[in-house]
């Protein structure tokens, strides 16, 4: 049988809880060998979406195909080929790393041996330590090892690095990149933009259960129309002053967008050296003091703020 081209295909996915639509008509394609990131703030519907794809939740309506098969007819087949790391799992506290991995390995027909799984996530020196004695980063690495021990074709990671120290995060990123390099497909959710930019071939931005943007990280950033973000603060926090200023700055050459935010104005700019003199001139004509000016390269965070008017972790 030919391997299907799509690892995940879902159409018009809806999940309703009484009157709340957690997922509200979501389409999603994940190609084979791709790492796809679902971005969005807490409560956007990422976890619900992923748990439907994992076959752990029934959708209210919509179509889901995983590796070309459906949960209703091919659950056993699919379970052998999926690796899952839930957003929050407490593994049994009184079992050791090795015992937990042996348990998970025994549930799959094929897979890697326990020792290679231990080495994969660098838990060799903790192999005989009980789960209760592991740090947050070590627990998360073990959770990912449990997801990989059955040699999956498709890996689901729900916020794999939330709350972890930078070293553990980088370590997990390397594990995911290595898995991808061997041809595995990945769906991950995160609200860390750096994680998405580092790991994902494509990202989908989800808000209120809908996909509001889709593309490679570069495409999404380019969609802002500029790759520099300029934030300026002037002597006042007055909303009408900031709104008036933003309005005026939209006319300055080189400025793509200008939005007033609390206490500051945020500009999206194509060429900093072109835009800056005009911006400063506008401040002078309005008699406003420039108290601070900062610039950075545009990130997915800025994409999200531009799309929704809210910060990701609000």
């Amino acid at each position: 049988m030919n391997e299907p081209e799509l690892a995940v295909r879902c159409r018009d996915l809806v999940k309703r809880y009484s009157d709340l639509a957690a997922v509200d008509g979501l389409d999603l394609d994940v190609r084979r060998g791709e790492c796809f990131g679902l971005l969005g703030p807490n409560g956007a519907g990422k976890t619900t979406t992923v748990e439907i794809l994992e076959g752990l939740l029934e959708p209210t309506s919509g179509e889901v195909e995983i590796l070309g098969r459906r949960w209703k007819t091919d659950e056993a087949w699919l379970r052998q080929r999926l690796g899952v790391s839930l957003q929050e799992t407490f593994l049994p506290e009184r079992l050791t790393v090795r015992e937990i991995l042996a348990l998970f390995r025994s549930l799959f027909e094929t897979g890697r041996d326990v020792d290679s799984a231990i080495d994969l996530v660098a838990l060799r020196e903790k192999e005989n330590a009980r789960y209760a004695a592991l740090s947050g980063g070590q627990r998360q690495r073990l959770a990912v090892a449990c997801a990989l021990v059955g040699d999956p074709k498709l890996l689901f990671l729900d916020e794999p690095t939330t709350g972890l120290d930078p070293q553990s995060r980088r370590m997990l990123w390397d594990v995911v990149l290595a898995f991808k390099k061997q041809g595995g497909s990945v769906v991950l959710t995160t609200h860390y933009m750096d994680e998405a930019e580092r790991l994902c071939d494509r990202v989908g931005v989800v808000d209120h259960g809908k996909m509001i943007a889709l593309g490679t990280p570069k495409e999404l950033i380019d969609s802002l129309g500029g790759n520099q973000i300029v934030e300026i603060t002037v002597g006042t926090d007055a909303e009408d002053v900031l709104a008036g200023l933003a309005e005026a700055l939209r006319g300055v050459p080189g400025v793509q967008h200008a939005r007033p935010q609390v206490g500051r104005v945020v500009l999206t700019v194509t060429e900093l050296h072109v835009a800056l003199p005009g911006v400063l001139g506008e401040l002078r004509t309005r008699g406003l003091d420039l108290t601070n000016l900062s610039t950075h390269h545009a990130t997915l965070e800025d994409v999200f703020v531009t799309l929704t008017g809210r910060a990701l972790r609000e």
Partner: protein, 356 residues
Amino acid sequence: MSESGRTTRLSAIRQIALMRLRLFYREPGAMFWTFGFPLVLSFVLGIAFRNRGPEPVVVAVEAPADAPLARAEHAQAILADAKDVIAKRLSPPEAESALRTGRVSLVVVPTAGGYAYRFDPTRPESRLAHAVTDDLLQRGEGRRDTFRPELQTATARGARYIDFLVPGLIGFGLMSTGLWGIGFSLAEMRTKKLLKRLMATPMRRTDFLFSFLIVRAVLLFTELPPLLLFSRFVFDVRIEGSLVSLLIIALIGGLTFAVMGLLLASRAENPQVVSGLINVASFPMYLCSGVFFSSAKFPDAMQPFIRALPLTALNDALRAVMIEGASLGAVVPRLAVCGAWGIGCFVLALRLFKWR
């Protein structure tokens, strides 16, 4: 199923069972409640309710300060000769208070023509004191026995309280470990999303449940011997019937309660809910099913309900084999009651169980 599929299933069942076993023996609390507690309970209750030699009855002879003492002294003299009676001379208020608080079982009141007895006929020791005292006083005042009875005494093994108690404790232990061991840990696995995590693997639900029952059966054969050996060597409690029958009964009872634990945990989202359910389910059996005292003490109207409880059935079967030496065949009707509960709970649990 393919060869590799079958191997996988066996190794999965083995690993899930190992997980259960490890979690059990690494939890000191569970170890104590399963192994230590029944021993402590049997020891304490065995000591408290041990059979003593016949105890003398204690009576008061009332000696009113304003009345002649002759009759009271005469009565006391008669009673003083008897080995099994202790008679105290007390003033009326003292006698009243001693009777009320149970320090004496009967008050003898001298009257013009003989004696009056004051006692509470609802108290067994008072009725005994009445019979013994009246007999002694009647004879002391000149009654003649019509014949001299021949006394044949026997203290039967198996009739002591501890002989009654040990099978009850076995039944009680099987209920507790089944309900708590299975119900509580399943609810905890659901709260901690471990159940959900396992459902995201190819694990078969039947293998999962089957492993729980296997571990329950294995543990059962480790928790019975300590109590049986302890009561054998400390209290000389013997098993009159066959040990194999006893183990088969224990297995049926243990699995019944394990399945009941499964049912109680089938929906509960957290261990608190399941604790409540287990308490509600086990409390009536704890009281009525003849763990510490015979269920026959309850009114006849309640008997059909009490006899239909699984723990009553289990305790009846255990006692029949341990005390009366009954065969397995003789307790089949009681085992059928227990087994019916098990099968009913299993069918319901499979329908209601929330896996995700």
